[in-house]
């Protein structure tokens, strides 16, 4: 046995990211981890790579037990993680990257023997049957080649355990196939591989064992031959009804927003759908399916190559967020710290900004602004001591999110776009945000919501659009949709 984790529990705040999970990895085994976003896959691998320390449980690597494993210890023990975003120095060559920090010295001090490095790198690459030149600069490599290079690098550093987190999410079919070949090679050399992927076909092709995680708990570890895809999917999803929000039934009004043939080369292709007044249109799909990119096109944050947007039957010109705001479109972004908050500014300024931009004259009426913001703070019950002096960064995550939403409520738009509206928000604020969305819908607004949270998507949406590889592949009615069915559409089986 290469490594095992026994009864690991990891708690963040009040949330159990992992609950009493055990896991084993043998030499030459490809052990797959599956589960929805947030099921605990990454948490589990991070325990093994020393990035986090579990609250309880033990880690055994090569027969020795470790309580608090540090990242450095993990690397010395041969645990290596290959990230989606390659951790490589783009301006150096393939060989330089392999030997980085461990350069082959020439006879003179402080000089690297590039010829020796290149020769050794060439042999190493050849031994893994890869099609990769050692003397090219990394920035000229494809995403797949960069991933391979990371694996070569891990292999060169005597990795015994290689963790791959969604390695194929940005790869094409052919590239995926060559990665599968490389994994088989590594297997043959006795290396244990932990393979995380949403793509179940891959898992059934390459895996030996599968561990299914759901909401931080292990749903069982099974040899691949003894389970089929439907059972895996069933175990991944299916949850307590308590996680679902019961949204009241509403009858949407006439069509308010029409999107026709929206596209941006290589990212989003020919997406058309319409949203009625008072309708919540959910968009689901795997990470990288083009969901967020579609929202950027609708909001004008990215330029679209084709298509048009109609609001109230009239085409609107949206070439920038400024145009979008003027046309009555607003976007509540996913990453509120990076894309929405003015961290050092007061709650008042943060909430008033869009309204000021849209409706107020160049000189502001501060008293009126204060009243308007106070009304919003009360309506959303944002916990704030003094809206004029307290900065938004001093609020809790849920209150920050409410303040950011409040900014857009004051702008009185017709289409509200929510990108992961409850990400990083506690349970209480979560249901308040849901209630707010329903309130908006009741007021006749159209809502588009992207969510990775399946219960949220199913319980809030009137209809659900499924994105896969940049296309809108299905539009489903909320009635009769289950997580199981939905994830099949996401994966495309």
């Amino acid at each position: 046995m290469l490594a095992s984790i026994r009864n690991a529990t990891k708690i963040y705040g009040q949330h159990k990211a992992l609950n009493n999970v055990s896991f084993e990895l043998a030499e030459g085994e490809v052990h797959c981890l599956v589960g929805e976003n947030g099921a605990g896959k990454s948490t589990l691998t991070k325990i093994l790579s020393g990035a986090i320390t579990p609250e309880s449980g033990s880690i055994v690597i090569n027969g020795a037990e470790y309580k608090g494993l540090t990242p450095r210890q993990a690397i010395e023990l041969g645990v290596s993680t290959v990230y989606q975003e390659a951790e490589l120095i783009e301006s150096l060559t393939v060989a330089d990257n392999i030997f980085l920090g461990d350069e082959r010295r020439a006879r003179f001090p402080l000089v690297v023997d590039a010829r020796l490095q290149n020769a050794e790198a060439r042999d190493l690459i050849r031994s893994l049957h890869l099609n990769l030149r050692e003397d090219v600069v990394v920035e000229s490599l494809s995403a797949a080649q960069k991933q391979m290079l990371q694996i070569v690098k891990a292999f060169y550093r005597d990795a015994k355990i290689i963790i791959m987190d969604e390695p194929t999410s940005s790869l094409g079919l052919e590239e995926t196939n060559s990665l599968m070949g490389l994994i088989r090679d590594l297997k043959g050399k006795g290396i244990g591989i932990i393979y995380i992927s949403h793509y179940l076909e891959e898992i059934f092709e390459i895996g030996d064992t599968i561990t299914i995680l759901k909401d931080g708990e292990s749903m069982g570890t099974v040899p691949i031959g003894q389970i089929d895809m439907d059972t895996v999917i069933h175990k991944m999803v299916g949850r307590d009804a308590s996680l679902f929000y019961t949204k009241e039934e509403m009858t949407p009004g006439p069509v308010q927003v029409e999107l026709r043939h929206l596209g941006r080369h290589g990212v989003v292709e020919d997406v058309s759908f319409e949203v009625r007044e008072g309708e919540i249109f959910g968009i689901g799909g795997l990470v990288g399916s083009g969901r967020s990119e579609l929202l950027s096109l609708i909001f004008g944050a990215d330029r679209r190559d084709s298509g048009e947007i109609l609001i109230g039957g009239r085409p609107v010109r949206v070439r920038s967020p400024h145009d979008a705001v003027a046309a009555g479109i607003c976007l509540i972004t996913e990453d509120r710290k990076k894309l929405a908050m003015f961290a050092p500014r007061s709650v008042t300024e943060n909430i008033a900004i869009v309204h000021n931009e849209r409706y107020e004259p160049p000189v502001l009426n501060l008293a009126r602004e204060r009243r308007r913001v106070r009304g919003m703070v009360e309506r959303l019950s944002i916990a704030v001591t003094d809206q004029d002096t307290q900065t938004i960064s001093e609020l809790s995550g849920g209150n920050q999110q409410k303040a950011v939403i409040g900014r857009w409520l004051l702008s009185d738009a017709r289409l509200y776009i929510f990108d992961e509206p409850t990400k990083g928000v506690d349970v209480g604020a979560r249901s308040e945000i849901f209630r707010l969305m329903v309130e908006l819908a009741k007021a006749g607004k159209s809502i588009i919501m992207v969510s990775s949270d399946m219960p949220e998507l199913i319980s809030m949406s009137d209809r659900i659009g499924v994105m896969r590889e940049g296309r809108l592949t299905h539009v489903l009615d909320r009635h009769g949709i289950t997580e199981e069915k939905l994830i099949k559409y996401f994966i495309g089986v």
């Binding site: 909001f299 920038s320 967020p321 003015f342 961290a343 050092p344 300024e349 900004i353 931009e357 501060l366």
Partner: protein, 315 residues
């Protein structure tokens, strides 16, 4: 957080205390410090710097820098002086000079937008351009206008308050009004604290950046006018170094280099402090070279103060 404690958390309040202490100590050691003449002298000295620092405050809050303002003052003052020497009245000369300064600042802002380069670097390049052009058309000769344009620099209201200082205060007030009461000010804070979020909130980033630079240019042009009137002569190096003094005063006043925060009142007391320190060192007959050392040390100390006070707030 209680409102009563608010004043003690303000950087300008500390500056005021330091200034009062400094004045008292210097006054005790040399009573001439409190003479009317000397006080008027201090106020005049800080007037030009004040206008430049007021503009720098607006720019720095929005996350921009213009370090070409010194060279900009040089070229604008030279043009005004040449026009006056050639017999044009001061009104057209001053208008041309201020327009030139404004155009120069616009040029810095526009280049920074067009070439997607930080305004710091663009304005660094513009120092050479402005000064070189000024050197070329003055041939490096001092442009004396002695006696032709001195009422601005010598006028005193009630024989006490220098007109220069009044104009400088007007500059502060304009920037204060923009920052506190205008949409433009909100945009400066928003852009300075988070460009991406500002863009996504529908704020036209580039247009506003240009406006900030143009306002800065107007202030710099006014500063050049005051300086010319005060000295009675101009050369290409006139005003050189003032950009760093201004940025220093802004930082001393509590506006961080990272933008998104700041108050004009802090800048006012920051400028005043640099003025008082150089005057006090003169009064105490300290080697003038040490003035630069003192101002430099002051900037570091004020950065340390804001670093510690921020750490305190987070805890």
């Amino acid at each position: 957080m209680q409102r009563t404690g608010a004043i003690f958390r303000e950087q300008w309040f500390f500056l005021l205390l330091v200034e009062a202490a400094l004045a008292i100590v210097t006054g005790l050691m040399n009573p001439r410090f409190f003479g009317l003449n000397n006080i008027e002298n201090i106020l005049e000295q800080v007037s030009v710097l004040g206008l430049v620092a007021a503009g720098a405050t607006l720019l720095m809050i929005s996350g921009n820098f213009d370090i070409s303002v010194g060279a900009n003052i040089g070229i604008s003052a030279c043009v005004m002086a040449i026009l006056m020497k050639a017999g044009y009245g001061y009104v057209p000369s001053v208008i041309v000079g201020i327009l030139l300064a404004t155009f120069n600042a616009f040029f810095v802002g526009a280049s920074s937008i067009l070439f997607k380069a930080p305004s710091f670097i663009i304005s660094l390049a513009c120092i050479g351009i402005f000064r070189g052009i000024a050197l070329a058309f003055t041939k490096g000769v001092l442009q004396l206008i002695y006696g032709k344009f001195e009422f601005l620099g010598t006028k005193r209201f009630f024989n006490i308050i220098p007109l220069l200082f009044v104009i400088s205060i007007a500059g502060y007030l304009i920037i204060h009004f923009i920052l506190k009461y205008m949409k433009l000010g909100r945009r400066a804070f928003a852009i300075g604290s988070n460009v991406q979020a500002s863009y996504l909130a529908g704020i036209p980033i580039n247009l506003n950046k240009l406006v900030f630079f143009i306002i800065n240019g107007l202030l710099v042009g006014t500063a050049a006018t005051l300086l010319l009137s005060r000295i009675g002569a101009a050369q290409p190096s006139t005003g050189s170094g003032i950009e760093l003094q201004a940025i220093g005063a802004v930082v001393i006043g509590g506006t961080p280099m990272t933008g998104g925060r700041g108050k004009i009142i802090g800048t006012f007391f920051g400028v005043l402090l640099t003025g008082i320190i150089s005057n006090a060192l003169n009064m105490l007959q300290v080697n003038p070279y040490f003035q630069d050392v003192a101002i430099g040390a002051l900037i570091i100390v004020s950065l340390a103060v804001s670093a510690f006070s921020q750490r305190g707030q987070r805890a």
